[in-house]
Structure formats: structure tokens, C-alpha cells
Subunit: 491 residues, 2 copies
């Protein structure tokens, strides 16, 4: 008998609060063991009893993994038996290009994508105009804002007049691209503005210093000299000499590098890698090719039949059936979202970064461990998060507003953009996406409470639940409205 | 910037094997950070890149748990929508008692259960006969063996003549009970045999010692005295005085305590608790009442429709459809097995132990963490495991055979008993259960290899796979043969 077993037996007897007089002594135990009937029983607890204090259930992790796999394989087989093979890569080619739709041979989405170069170049020209004092600064910034809003309005206007020429996927891509360019131009304009303000301030400071030196004041002089050495470091050191300075950055090459770079935040000097790793590029490229095909195949084979099967259910508004449909949709939707996340934020952005020798690869944090919803939103999409912190949150708190207010503004802007990405392609102005995003700050507060009160595990479970169930709920809302509009149910 | 981020950035640059001359110095970094464009980018890796050395994916455990729950709730809803509510507790009453079957009002299973007292009492009488020298020992042991085989043959013979009078559940219960009594009587006979042999040896030793003392031999004398003090401790100490000794144990009360006790191993002095904890009893009782109803409900609602739906599939022998059915059956079957495990090995055996003040509660080990199949078999069913070690494995190795041979004998006996429990109630002598059990030693060797070569996690996954998939495979085999025999498919 090991000492561990003995210790457990001892604990067991303690748990039963046996009085000392009645307790079986070690000698008594030994005597019993030496009897002729070869005894093997010892007083000890079952592992599931609280008094056993046993808590090693690591094997259950593998159990969960296996049950998920068994369920997954069976679902796949059932789907195949029910619907046959629905995967058809050629169909995607038609959907993506708008070819074969019979209405237009002009590929309107493609034209809009190419046209996006125009507002980009206009933005550069305006900045150049301000820098060479051709345009007054305030007027120039006004022009920039006008240019940006012209950019995001363009798809809405074009769609209004030539809506039938667009495929759904085509117009979604256009909206996404225009939104990204909008965010990038915002950052470009604001960063150049910071540079100009900084230079002006430095000029004024220098002037002030020279004035104060003419009337000697030793304290000020020392501070000024200290500042001067720091200034020298920033402006005239060998390290500084390598850096691009405003307005030398205002050229096409620099702007197009920013447009292609996997970031929404404009900087004059990005951290760069010193070579392109070919193996890395090939790996990301293979991931993209294989992954995109997997996503498209899952979508055709799994998502579309499930959505189509739910039209009737939604028309009938039977709550049990709707819940069943929602849960049925939740699984493929969530898996597709996970694939999409990996392909976009790991494969695609890393590929672009490697090709452009862009060294900052933090495109996502470890959101899968997030213990509350704000942590999730701060880490799942780092380019947008960094943009929001640098260009919305910090400027607002810098003006003296509270952090809470700045956070709400960030969520409101984000909610508007989500609505833009959904409503414009669907040509159906509902507010489900906006409401979904605006539900996040209250949810964040609730999940923060869950984390503090029930422990981090429950916070994390809340984050995952909102991801797994929230998305298909929103999709169902839009699909319900879309189906009600386009295919009237048979009464 | 935290030191952790800096460290990561450093590691990143090392991973890219940047030469020292080109490396960006701390000063250069500082100078860049102080520029007017408020830079935020730093060289760092994506978390999924190997070079990031990130490996915290604890959140994915919660993800798995949630996906399982979502899948489970959806399956439940789908089942409810497809089959309606099938749970009917009254139906179970009919199945269990055989009432309402129209063939017999004699409850034949019940009569056989009551009759099991006869061989138990006979066994006691034979032991008593040997103890008082009424029966020669060898003849008495022969009678015991005959009595035990008469016991296990009884259900087979009775079923052969009055097969139609039994319900399937009734005859399964009878077989299970008779098998347990068989194992207990085996242990009873063998333990009493050990006691007799031990007493005889002691008697001979004492005689020998007295002879050796008459011819003085100091060394022997010291050893003998030492032995004598140990002997005194075992036989005459106050601790020993409390213990029951052979043949005082041969009485009805002692035998019936053993028959009811949650163990298959007979001992003259079991470790006992000093009181019955009422809260504990009530908890186990509630678990049993609630759990048994849950199991029966799941069986009616989930298992039976799935099995019935597979008759046609099995008749057609389409491998894809059979795999789909097998996986569909695997999930409820496995969950029912888990419930059955908990109810039997935790709730029921602990309840019996508490009521009988039986202190050894190790009815199961932590088989869920087992990293190979032999560990699983050694820990999931401790009463049978302890019986097999004490009454089969050790006696065989004690005779000088190898451990491997003893292990094979244990599995062969276990395989026979499994076959008995399945074939007799089904009245269909196939060898699937026997083969299933005999496949375990080779599987144990394979899983041991997997554990050593691929790591303990893969060993554990193999154990779970064989549990989740092996059982429904065996059920399907029997069901296929049973269906082929009883409902001929329409050609």
C-alpha cells in the first residue's frame, strides 16, 4: 500500500469524524493484513465523492475532442447522403465575377475597384497642396474629409442606379475595399496633420527660446539646453538621419506602400524586415489556396442548404423549430468564421506583410482566451483596434472627454461600418447589424461581471457563446427580412 | 512598451537571422518612437507563427464544451421534432416485470432470482461440512465447483425450456445476478481454502519448531523466537482478538453480508465505517431515482428510434450509410454508458456500502485519464479487477506461470462472461462479445505503443475511441444478426 493511499484513508476517517478511541490503529491494520484470508480491502473513498479531493479530469479534454470529431464526421456523412455533392468551384467563378448573369458584360464591381485609385491620388494631391502652401490648411483638411465621404458614398449611389448589374459578392467586395481605403485615408490625413502641427510648434518653441536667451535666466537656459540635446537626438543623430521626415513622405510610392500594407495606421517609417522569406510566402500562399477552396466548399455544401431549408420555418414563426434551425446554422457558420479568421488575419495579412517586408505582424491577439467581451474586441482584429485607439479613442480622450465616452464613440463608429457592410450589398436598410454592435458595450459590462463574480472561465464561456450564437442570430434576422421581401411564402 | 513585447521583438529579429550591423539599435527605435507621426508599429510575430512561441490555447477547452452543448441541444430538439415525446415510464414497468405479456403470470425471472438463495446456502453447508471434517476436503471443493457451475447453467437450461415466458430485460437481470453470485462463491470457496491451508501449515510449523528446539541450534532459536513474537501479534494481540477467525466465519449472517456487500472478494474482516451517514444515503438514492429515469427516457427517446431506423440500412449493406448509422448510434450509446457507469459504480455501490458500513469505496479508478487500454481495464471496474487479480492472476503467477499468460487467462475468462451475458438473453450464440473482449490484449499492446511513441495524449485518445466506437460496433453486430433472424427484410 502506498503512502498516498494511506493518506487518503486517513483523510477519509477524518472526514467521518471518528473519535480517537474508536480509530483503527496502524497496528490493527497491520494485524488484519497478515491474516490468512489475504485481505485486499482498505478504507478509502470513491473518486467522485467530495471527500476524496480528487480532481484530475484531463482525459475529458480528449473525450470532448473525440465526441466533436464523431459528431462532425456523422454530420458530414448525413449532409452528403441528403444533398449529394454540391461543391462546384465554377459556380463561384460566376458569382465572383458577375459573368453569365446576362445583364451586363462590364463587370461593374471590377470598374469600381479600379476607380478607387482616383480618391487615393486626390488625397495625395490635397496633402501636397497643403504642404507647399498652395491650399490653406483648414480648406485642405475640409477637402480631404469631403473626398473620404465621396469615396464611401460612391458604392451606395452607383448601386442605387445600376443595382441589377452587381452580384452580391461583387458589391460586398467593393464596399469592403472602399471602407478600408476610407480608414486608411483618415489615418493618412490625420498623421500628416500631426506632423504639420508638430513642426509648427517646434518652430514657435525655437523662437521663444531665442527670445528668453536674450534676457538671461539660468534655470530656463539649462532646461532649454537639455531639451536641445533631446531635439538633436530626434532630428540630427545618425539614427534620425535614416528616417523619412514630413513633407518628404508625400509621394506616390509611399502612399501606395501604405495602401497595400497590412495596417490601417499611417506612419512615416514602418519597422521593416530585411528580406523576404520564400518558404514563408509559399506556406501562406498554399494555406490561402487550400483554405479558400475549403471555405467555399463548406459554404455550398452545408450553409446554403441549411439556410434555404429555414425559409419555411421562419415564415411559420414556430419558436422550437426556429431554435433548432438557429443551432443547426450556428455550427457551420462558426466553423466558417474560424476559417475566415485564420485565412484573413493569419495567412493573407502575413503574406502581404512578408512581400512588403512589413515587420509588425500583430494582426490578432489571443482573443480565444478572452475572459470578457471588451478583451475580445480589443484583440480579435488588431488593425481596426489600433486604428480606433490611435485615430478615435486617443484624440477624444486628448480633448478631455472620459474614457467611457471615447469607448462608446468607437463602438458607434464600428457599428455604423458593420451596418454599411451589410445593408449596402443587401440593398435593405435594417438596423440589426448596428444594434448587434451597439449591444456589445452592455454585453461587455455583463461579461466583466461574470468574470469577476463567477471566475474567468465563465467570462470566456460568455465570449464564445456570444460568438457562436450571436452571429447566426444576426444572419437569420437579415435572412428572414430578405426572404420575406423576395420570396413571399405560400399562404 | 513592456519588456515582454521587446523580448518578443528581439526573438523575432533573431529568427530572421539579421546580421549585427543591420540590427536596429535601441536608440534607433527610441528615435523612431519620438517622431511627430506618433508611430505605434513594432516588429513582432503573429501568434500562430512558430517563431512567436505562443502556446496558450486554454480558451479552446471552453469552446469545445460549448460546441458540444450546442450540438447536444440541437440533436435533442431535432429528435423531439421528428419523433415527438416517446418517454413512457409505464412501458418500462411492463418490460421489467414481464407483466402484460400475456404468456405467463408466474414472473419466471422473479422466481429464478429468489431461487438463487439455494446455491448460496448449499455453498455454506459444504464449507461447514469440510470445516467439521464431515466431508473430505477434496470432495468438498469438488462439490463447491459443481454447485457453482450448476448455478450458471441454470438460466441457460430454464431458458431453453421456457424461453417464451421471459422478457429480455428479465432474463438479462437473472444472468447478471447469477454471474455475480458465481464470482462471489468462487471467492468464498477459495478464501476458506486459503484459511484451512494456512492453519494446517501453522500446525505443522509448530510441530517442527518443537522438534528443532529439542536439539538446540541458537540461530534457529532466535529466528523462531522472532517468528513467535510475530505469530503472537497476529494471533493473540488485542488487535487480533477483535478479528473473526476461521472457522467462526462460517455462518449465514457473514455469508449474506458478503453477498450484499459491494465487492466480489471474500474477506473474514472487512474494513468498516462506524456509522451510516444519512445525508450520503439520501444523495445516492436521489441520484439513482433521477438517473435511472433519465437513462430509461434517453433509451426510449433516442436509442430505440435510431436502432429501428438502421434495420433497413443493415439489410442493404451500404458501407457509407452503415458508417453514418454507427456514428449516429455511437453518441447516445456512449452517453448512456457514461450514465450507467456513474449510477452503478458510484451511486448504487456507494449506497450499498454506506448501508452495510463497508469502508472500501474504491469501485473505480480514474480510467478517464487512462493512457493505454490495459490501464483502462485495470481501473474502470474495480470489483471485477480486484477479483481477477486475487483469484485468477496471482494464483496463476504463484504456480510459476508468466504474467503474460496469467493476463491472457484473465481476459479469456472475462470474454467468456461477456459472451454469457449477451448470448444467453438474446438466445443467439454468436462470438462477437467474446471476440470483442479477446481483441483487448492486442489493442492494449497497440495503445501502449501509441502512448510511448506518440505521447500519453494519443494513448488516451485511443482508449476513448475504442470505448466510443467499439461498443456501438458490437451492438450493431448483434442487432444485425438478431434482425436478420427475426424480421426478414422485404426483398
Amino acid at each position: 500500500m502506498t503512502s498516498e493511499t494511506e493518506e487518503k484513508a486517513l483523510r477519509y476517517r477524518r472526514a467521518q469524524s471518528v473519535s480517537k478511541a474508536e480509530e483503527i490503529t496502524e497496528q490493527e491494520k497491520r494485524v488484519r493484513k497478515l491474516q490468512l484470508d489475504k485481505p485486499i480491502h482498505t478504507p478509502r473513498d470513491s473518486l467522485f465523492s467530495w471527500s476524496s479531493e480528487f480532481n484530475n479530469f484531463t482525459g475529458l479534454v480528449n473525450w470532448g475532442f473525440l465526441m466533436l470529431s464523431v459528431g462532425g464526421v456523422r454530420l458530414g456523412l448525413e449532409n452528403f447522403l441528403k444533398y449529394g455533392l454540391r461543391v462546384n468551384p465554377f459556380e463561384w467563378f460566376i458569382v465572383l465575377t458577375g459573368y453569365n448573369e446576362g445583364t451586363s458584360s462590364q463587370y461593374p464591381s471590377f470598374i469600381l475597384i479600379v476607380f478607387s485609385i482616383v480618391p487615393i491620388v486626390i488625397s495625395l494631391l490635397i496633402e501636397k497642396g497643403i504642404a507647399v502652401d498652395f491650399l490653406p490648411e483648414k480648406f485642405g483638411v475640409g477637402l480631404q474629409i469631403f473626398n473620404m465621404f465621396f469615396l464611401v458614398s460612391l458604392p451606395v449611389v452607383v448601386l442605387n442606379f445600376k443595382g441589377n448589374d452587381f452580384s452580391f459578392v461583387g458589391i460586398t467586395s467593393v464596399c469592403m475595399l472602399y471602407l478600408i481605403i476610407f480608414l486608411k485615408l483618415w489615418s493618412y490625413t490625420q498623421t500628416n496633420f500631426w506632423c504639420r502641427s508638430g513642426l509648427k510648434k517646434k518652430y514657435l518653441d525655437n523662437k521663444l527660446r531665442r527670445q528668453s536667451l536674450s534676457a538671461p535666466n539660468w534655470n530656463k537656459l539649462i532646461t532649454a539646453e537639455h531639451d536641445q540635446s533631446k531635439e538633436d537626438l530626434i532630428n540630427d543623430s545618425p539614427a534620425a538621419a535614416k528616417l523619412t521626415k514630413y513633407p518628404d513622405n508625400l509621394n506616390l510610392k509611399d502612399l501606395f506602400y501604405f495602401m497595400l500594407a497590412p495596417t490601417l495606421c499611417y506612419e512615416l517609417n514602418y519597422p521593416r524586415t530585411d528580406r523576404i522569406r520564400k518558404r514563408f510566402v509559399i506556406k501562406r500562399l498554399l494555406e490561402l489556396i487550400f483554405g479558400v477552396n475549403l471555405v467555399l466548399a463548406l459554404f455550398q455544401q452545408w450553409m446554403i442548404p441549411t439556410i434555404i431549408n429555414s425559409v419555411d420555418t421562419f415564415a411559420k414563426m414556430d419558436p422550437i423549430r426556429i431554435t433548432e434551425r438557429l443551432l443547426k446554422l450556428a455550427v457551420p457558420n462558426h466553423l466558417l468564421w474560424l476559417c475566415f479568421f485564420y485565412l484573413t488575419f493569419h495567412s493573407f495579412l502575413n503574406l502581404m506583410a512578408e512581400l512588403l517586408q512589413f515587420a509588425d505582424r500583430k494582426f490578432y491577439g489571443d482573443w480565444w482566451n478572452a475572459n470578457n467581451i471588451s478583451t475580445f474586441w480589443n484583440s480579435w482584429n488588431m488593425p481596426v483596434h489600433m486604428w480606433a485607439v490611435r485615430h478615435v479613442y486617443k484624440p477624444i480622450t486628448g480633448l478631455g472627454y472620459t474614457k467611457f465616452f471615447a469607448g462608446i464613440v468607437v463602438f458607434a463608429i464600428s457599428a455604423l461600418f458593420h451596418e454599411y457592410l451589410v445593408s449596402v450589398p443587401l440593398q435593405m436598410f435594417r438596423i440589426w447589424a448596428f444594434l448587434g454592435m451597439m449591444a456589445q458595450p452592455p454585453l461587455a459590462i455583463i461579461s466583466r461581471h461574470a468574470e469577476v463574480r463567477l471566475g474567468p472561465r465563465w467570462g470566456n464561456i460568455m465570449v464564445w457563446s456570444s460568438l457562436i450564437l450571436g452571429q447566426p442570430l444576426a444572419i437569420m434576422m437579415y435572412f428572414h427580412d430578405y426572404a420575406m421581401l423576395h420570396f413571399k411564402p405560400v399562404q
